[in-house]
């Protein structure tokens, strides 16, 4: 494309269909404890398998 560059796979909806196993870390346990950022957590789905 000439005007637009897409920089990622944009698969949020796909991840919903495959997701929800719940094996990932609770976000507050990582390094915040006073705020919440969920998007920087790792997916643990593959590790579980």
């Amino acid at each position: 494309m000439k005007h637009i560059q897409t920089i990622n796979k944009a698969q949020l909806a796909v991840s919903a269909a495959k997701g929800g196993c719940g094996q990932c870390q609770a976000s507050c346990q990582s390094a915040c404890k006073t705020s919440c950022t969920v998007a920087n957590q790792k997916c643990e789905h593959e590790k579980k398998d």
Partner: protein, 458 residues
Amino acid sequence: MIHTYQMNGYNIVMDVNSGGVHVVDTLTYDLLQYIAEPVPETCPPEALAALSERYAEADILECYGEILELVHAKVLFSEDTFAKYADFAVPSPIKALCLHVSHDCNLRCAYCFASTGEYGGGRKLMTAETGKKAIDFLVVNSGDRVNLEVDFFGGEPLMNWDACKEIVAYARSIEKSVNKKFRFTMTTNGMLLDDEKIDYLNKEMSNIVLSVDGRPEVHDNMRPCPNGSGSYDRIMPAFRKLAALRGDKDYYVRGTFTKHNLDFSEDVFHLYREGFDQISMEPVVAPADQPYALTEEDLPAVFAEYEKLADRILENEKNGGWFNFFHFMIDLDHGPCAIKRLRGCGCGNEYVAITPDGDIYPCHQFVGQENYRMGNVFDGTFNQELKAKFAKAHVGTKPACRNCWAKFYCSGGCNANNYFYAGDILNAYDLSCQMQKKRLECAIMMQVARYERKQSAE
């Protein structure tokens, strides 16, 4: 829904429901300001009329064609299809504990949310017996979750060192038979760290959070010892040693910035220069009448400083340096699934805090709030109604979040902050939201810059 913004010379377009991130030219950026959903198959006449003075009509139409292509590919103005996952908002197994092994502290941090460690309930240490009961409670309530996290928290957890070790030993002794994997973490101020503890923590803790605010004068101003002297010189040699011996295991040096150090990028870079490469620096959360509290009037300075920090980190990377800043960490392709993002932090549902008396609260920040006491590990009580209430606290039920572009990144914010500063766990705490959005914009801009750098290198 889309979110458009300009930063560091980039025109950035985020597609909220697909998670798509696009970098666009100025024409596209301007054109998008005239497009609303449902996106028409032909360019809106008002857009053509408004932009034709600055751009050739053929270019506008060509650009509109590209926009439509992305709309059809469902990565721009994509539909919200998440309603069908509404059943995620049900009580879930518990997978994480914040274990308050010490309601006592050997520092007197001015901004402490825990009333210098005692949480309003007196100075107490958790017995190993209570800790073991808490571990049993976690196992029994964890359902099919395999990875279970236990954070040794306080006050200062190292003030109760022997109990910490006994609790770890107990959990390890039952790990196989209950088919769980315990991941221990600790949040410490470092005052009692010595070689023996460093060695043990580096073996047993999957993550260690080391509390330090940055430059010596900034740190000592907010984190003094009970006698008023500074704590920086005491903790830093041990922190450096622990990080150096940590190997590939996770750790963070974690600081808090306040109104007194709105130039907090200096503190982040101070920690980097001191040899740390995993750094977190968070805005203080405090009542507005406190002299160190961040208020609405500080936001322009905070925003500018976040942008400056993002620039400095990119510049450092360009020069071959590297460190990870927790709040700018984002993986646009392999981040958490949308269900996790919809669920949010999970406090009170997947995550609870347990006090020295064995009382259960939704998270560490709710400790001491009698109306949020969920039960006790000794008498077996556990308020399922309250658990269900927290399960339902997510971006779909928080009115301010539903139409917010950042909802899949912050996932509804901190329920405790919402409760204490906006009156209800379902009310967004605006000051916090505004800073979170700025951090996200910076984080995504940095991903764009890195993408471009990689492209031009290839």
